[in-house]
């Protein structure tokens, strides 16, 4: 899965320098990366949507929108990306923790500083970068867990419903459930696994998902599904504060 990084700095030389270090880092890991460059906080906010970036490097002293104000608005939309402040001033060292920053780099920084920050970001991202291998049609593919909405059994096949596609696979649901091994997925029915990140509402006998799909809840799983969904919703509401 491609890692997506945004670099926001009003100086083009700084953007260029940092993006070269980032590309070099991921090259040594042999991992594909997409780096987007922005010259202002406004520009970044305009192009941003939740889930778009895994890591954002943000300068603090910029015209119009400071890095801190940009960070505040980004966090209001998405609590899941890793944020790294990259700036000349140490003044906001204490305040930076308010935005759940992963690191604070003082310019001029070098490859080691950026590498250490990225090492931590990759580790912090953890589950968000995880994929599961599915042998589908002709060759095995890696499906990001984040993109799986729900999985259903149809005969001898499981259908993996993702945000982009519906992927058939010849695997048993128990095996897939063990491979996913994620607290975001619950077995709400003997033939269904649902990703709670896409559950909009729990109705009496089914989950209503964000795209309008409905996933049934087995009679024996109803109480557990309700408890699990309430607990999960509560934890996620807190993590967005």
């Amino acid at each position: 899965m491609d890692i997506s990084v945004a670099v926001c700095d009003d100086l083009s030389s700084e953007r260029g320098y940092l993006s070269r270090i980032i590309y070099s880092y991921f090259q040594t890991l042999n991992r594909p990366v997409q780096v987007d460059l922005f010259g202002s906080g406004r520009d970044l906010l305009f192009h941003f949507y939740p889930g778009k970036y895994h890591v954002i490097f943000l300068d603090i002293y910029m015209e119009e929108f400071s890095g801190l104000e940009t960070a505040r608005q980004l966090r209001q939309q998405d609590g899941n990306f890793s944020l790294v402040f990259a700036t000349t001033s140490a003044d906001y060292g204490v305040n930076s923790y308010e935005f759940r920053a992963a690191d604070y780099l003082l310019k001029p920084f070098d490859l080691v500083d950026v590498r250490d920050a990225l090492d931590y970001c990759i580790m912090e991202l953890g589950d968000r970068l995880r994929t599961v291998e599915i042998s589908s049609r002709w060759e095995p593919i890696q499906v990001p867990l984040l993109e799986i909405q729900y999985i259903e059994v149809q005969g001898h096949t499981v259908l993996i419903h993702t945000t982009r596609d519906c992927i058939p696979a010849r695997r048993c649901l128990e095996e897939l459930e063990a491979d996913l091994n994620s607290p975001d997925f619950i077995r709400c029915h003997r033939s269904y696994l649902v990703n709670l990140n896409y559950a909009l509402k729990l109705e009496e006998k089914e989950f209503l998902l964000t795209d309008g799909s409905r996933v049934p809840i087995g009679a024996h799983n109803r109480k557990k599904a309700k408890e699990r969904f309430m607990e999960w919703s509560f934890e996620h509401a807190w993590s967005r504060k």
Partner: protein
């Protein structure tokens, strides 16, 4: 029950932090134990050190060695995260090497602590207190910190929580018996309020965060006024 460690050789700083944490735990209804240490030997010898979810490191007189001590202690507490007390922005930046849960500015204020602890929710969620209430033919568990106020409705009552309302199949009196005395307050016959959700007290009554106004019984107005004044004095600084 969650355990927080406090490593603060400075007695006053330690006391101040303990008071604030106890106030916070009472307001958020979290069962918390504090382990206080004045030296790293004391911390390492304490069997509770391995169970701490957060360890607060005071500035004290060992500023230069704070990070080394923190590194040493965090090794004894693999599931614990460090939280530093400092106003030095350069030190705060240096702390990133340990990826702490946060840095609290000195002098400490309740509001700052409360905001910081909100962000550290995963480290204290195990200590949350809940109530279990009957709903329809089933039951629902609600964390006390989410309960803003409870309103009597015939033989039942309505619980107003931060993300919605829920009608429960028991009386307000039964709910009152399940709740701790603070931060919950029976302001009149038909209402129990969580002081943390009160915005202000006016002549008309208690103005809640959702702009609902709850009248206060005439006989209890002075008592409620004193409670609110004390609560706001402690928490709005």
């Amino acid at each position: 029950m969650i355990i927080f460690g406090i490593y603060a050789p400075d007695g006053e700083e330690c006391l101040s932090l303990c008071r604030l944490l106890e106030l916070w735990a009472s307001n958020v209804c979290v069962k918390m134990e504090l382990a206080l240490w004045h030296s790293s030997e004391e911390a390492q010898a304490d069997p509770r050190a391995g169970e701490c979810s957060l360890i607060f490191f005071g500035e004290g007189e060992i500023k230069g060695r704070q990070l080394d001590i923190a590194r040493e202690l965090c090794r004894c507490c693999p599931q614990g995260k460090a939280m530093f007390l400092s106003s030095d922005p350069l030190f705060a930046i240096e702390c990133y090497c340990l990826h702490p849960a946060g840095v609290l500015e000195i002098p400490m204020r309740y509001r700052q602590l409360a905001r910081t602890m909100e962000r550290c929710f995963p480290f204290w969620r195990e200590g949350l207190s809940w109530i279990e209430v009957p709903v329809c033919r089933s039951s629902v568990r609600i964390p006390l910190c989410e309960l803003e106020y409870a309103e009597a409705s015939g033989r039942h009552c309505i619980l107003h929580c931060s993300d919605g309302c829920i009608q429960v199949g028991c009386s307000l009196g039964e709910i009152e018996r399940m709740l701790p005395q603070r931060p919950f307050l029976r302001c009149q016959r038909s209402y129990i309020v969580n002081l943390c959700s009160v915005d202000r007290l006016e002549a008309g009554g208690l103005v809640m965060r959702d702009d609902c106004v709850i009248s206060v019984g005439r006989g209890r107005y002075k008592e409620i006024q004193d409670c609110c004044a004390e609560f706001f004095r402690l928490t709005r600084n």
